[in-house]
Amino acid sequence: MSGYMQDQKAIDGLVRSHQVHRDIYIDQDVFRMEMRNLFVNTWVFVGHESQTPNKGDYFTTQIGDQPVIQVRHSDGNIHVLYNRCPHKGTKIAIDRSGNTGKFFRCPYHAWSFKTDGCLLAIPLKKGYRDTGLDQTESAKGMKAVGAVKNYRGFIFARLAAEGVAFDAFFGDSLSSIDNMVDRSPAGRLEVAGPPLRYMHKCNWKMLLENQTDTCHPMVAHESSAGTAVRLWDEMGQKGPTPAAMQIIAPFMSPYEFFEDMGIRTWPNGHGHTGVHNSIHANYSEIPGYMEKMVEAYGEERAKQILGESRHNTVYFPNIMIKGPIQQMRVFIPLAADKTLVESYIYRLVDAPDELLARTAMYNRMINAPTSIVGHDDLEMYERAQEGLHVDGLEWVNVQRLYEEGEDMETEAVVNGTTERQMRNQFHAWLKFMRAPGSTDAQVAAQ
């Protein structure tokens, strides 16, 4: 194994129509190629605009393994800059968020930069007179990423200067973000508090695959959801339904339920569960909400928006959103066997607080490092990360409901227990794993 960095074509052999090679999850070279190519060529989620509402507000995160700053410039636009002083390499901002005023100032030698990254001033600048500093990259200021797009408040960036366009990359999959935002009578979301941060000792793609893995809940989550159902029965189902019954118990739904809910895949690795129905479809109604929605959109449109039952929408490469409950999970790759999962919740502007309370509850019950449902999942990922080292049995199967001649470049709606979305993700994975600017990347961009 390994040596993929020297022989980049070798990764072609890792993805087959119905199975993928374990090196995809455990090999250091493959991980480095993902950071240098996949996370450079694709549009990666950075943050929400409400995390930087005012001029000078910034938020630090990473795109792949690249530290970046999302910052609101003086003209009101949001920029995404590499978090590195062009002088000696010092990270400009260390805290997770803050306000830098009109400019960033490097704490090491006080080089300062406008909030769009342009060099503003260097102390004792005469020391650089006639040295040719202006010919260097250092004099250009803080480097910006290749391209930035603010889509309905969600900030995405492409590190590569050239490559696939935003609309071409996401296509019709943007309808899931639209639906999440449209659920606000004001058509706007606001981030609510800091994210849960959950460290996973497994490859980031295991998390991504799990988002549309509809054959695991009733098995892996029997310990939490099954126990909830049994407890509630033993209590004679007396009194108000506990929150856990609404949030956790539906994981025990039978296979038929998940089959019927359907999965849709879009080109470039995006897809979602819950086309026709989902475990989020029957959430109790919140008084006053429908009225506000009808007021904002009219009855027909309001019903259409709230009738959408999309469960998990995966945006390749590394986020998942839950439209009906305004939640985002970000799978930040730290190493081949290490992933940081950050789970955000958003407030529907102008909607009753009860909706946000339910979303906050869902987040802590399902996505926290203290969550019993989270424990069920992480146990499986970490066992897989270790088990994949077995030699002589080197392939991971993704064959469920595989059909000969599947075309991932077209949208499809299929049985909800298919692994087509996993295959779709690997198809996109291979497509964007070419070096940026290479012929193949240009092909992928079309």
Partner: protein, 160 residues
């Protein structure tokens, strides 16, 4: 002297930690008021448990489910089981209101949890809101502030 004395409150907090360490969960659940909440904020000095995320904000049913799950035949993340260990500094008694049956303690603790070859340490402050139920001390609410609540954690499977 009227029950509870300051010592009674302090003894209660120690005894509760010991129940958790020894896995005596049935007894532990019985030491709660039925409408009590176990809260572990996510943000440093968080004030609101409802409209932002917490690590835990669990009612009686959820706590029951949590401890019941630990013994399930198909609870794979507890095969093998985790163990935990609390080391307490002597609790402060911050409020002693016999008239309203409201007693508040503040306790610094170190919490260690282990499973297989892994072990981690959390520093925390526990705030117990205690009350009297038919003459017996019970937990009305409990709040656990982790010193590094905003850090990224792996699984925390037992109760700090």
């Amino acid at each position: 002297m009227t029950f509870p004395t300051k010592d009674d409150l302090i003894d209660f907090v120690y005894a509760e930690a010991r129940m958790l360490d020894e896995g005596r969960y049935t007894q532990w659940l019985e030491s709660w008021m039925p409408d009590g909440h176990y809260w572990m904020p996510l943000d440093y000095k968080q004030e609101d448990p409802n409209l932002v995320t917490s690590l835990l904000y669990e009612d009686n049913f959820m706590l029951k489910l949590r401890v019941e799950r630990l013994n399930g035949a198909r609870t794979f993340s507890q095969k093998p089981k985790s163990r935990c260990h609390h080391v307490l500094q002597r609790p402060f008694v911050d409020e002693m209101d016999h008239e309203n049956g409201r007693f508040i303690t503040n306790t610094a603790m170190h919490y260690v949890e282990t499973r297989l070859d892994e072990q981690f340490l959390l520093a925390l402050t526990a705030t117990h809101e205690l009350t009297l139920d038919q003459g017996i001390l019970k937990i009305a609410n409990k709040r656990v502030d982790l010193l590094n609540s905003d850090a990224a954690f792996g699984n925390i499977q037992l109760l700090p």
